[in-house]
Symmetry: C2
């Protein structure tokens, strides 16, 4: 049997870039990632434009998402979950500078 793994504490000491790690992947249509940010943000002007829906849950820290066309912003606190529909252009505008921001992201096929 596999021992539990703690997603909040098993974090590298140094984090020059955001860390993306696949936790779980189905043969078909879905993938679960942990993402760890430490003050990171998407490059200015960079937009994610993804073929799959992304459901994200903030486990720790704080983050601000920015959306394009129509422009919008969302601040996420721990426990907040939001669905980013496929091809909804978005970026990470900011993450907490002084603590680790841990995201759980579930990518899944659009209908």
């Amino acid at each position: 049997m596999t021992a539990p793994r703690n997603l909040l504490t098993d974090i590298p000491a140094t984090l020059p870039q955001e860390q993306f790690e696949t936790l779980l992947a189905g043969k078909r249509g879905f993938r679960v990632e942990r993402i760890v940010s430490r003050g990171h943000a998407s490059p200015p002007g960079y937009w994610y434009d993804q073929p799959q829906h992304e459901w994200v849950l903030l486990l720790s820290g704080q983050a601000e998402l920015e959306y394009d066309a129509p422009a919008a912003r969302q601040t996420l606190q721990p426990g907040d979950a939001v669905l980013i529909p496929a091809h909804r252009r978005h970026r990470v505008a900011a993450t907490a500078a002084d603590s680790d921001t841990v995201w759980l992201a579930i990518f899944h096929d659009a209908d």
Copy 2:
């Protein structure tokens, strides 16, 4: 655009039974649930025996899982994630009596 929903705070005042809620479901092969427990446990002698793998992440509270054949126990703290393979008989031995235990469970097809 949908506003974020907080999974830790959007909890019923009274909880006579555990609350199961589907947050997300793919057309094929996976389902995401939030489960809220408040001192609840599986009935004595009752075992879950599921056709799908279940990946669980404890978001708040505390829980103890019990496994059958071979017998084992696992205590889960917030942030702990564990994969319960399909048909691995298990039950919730206990959850925190004095606080809400919030689980995120991802059920997905066995290979």
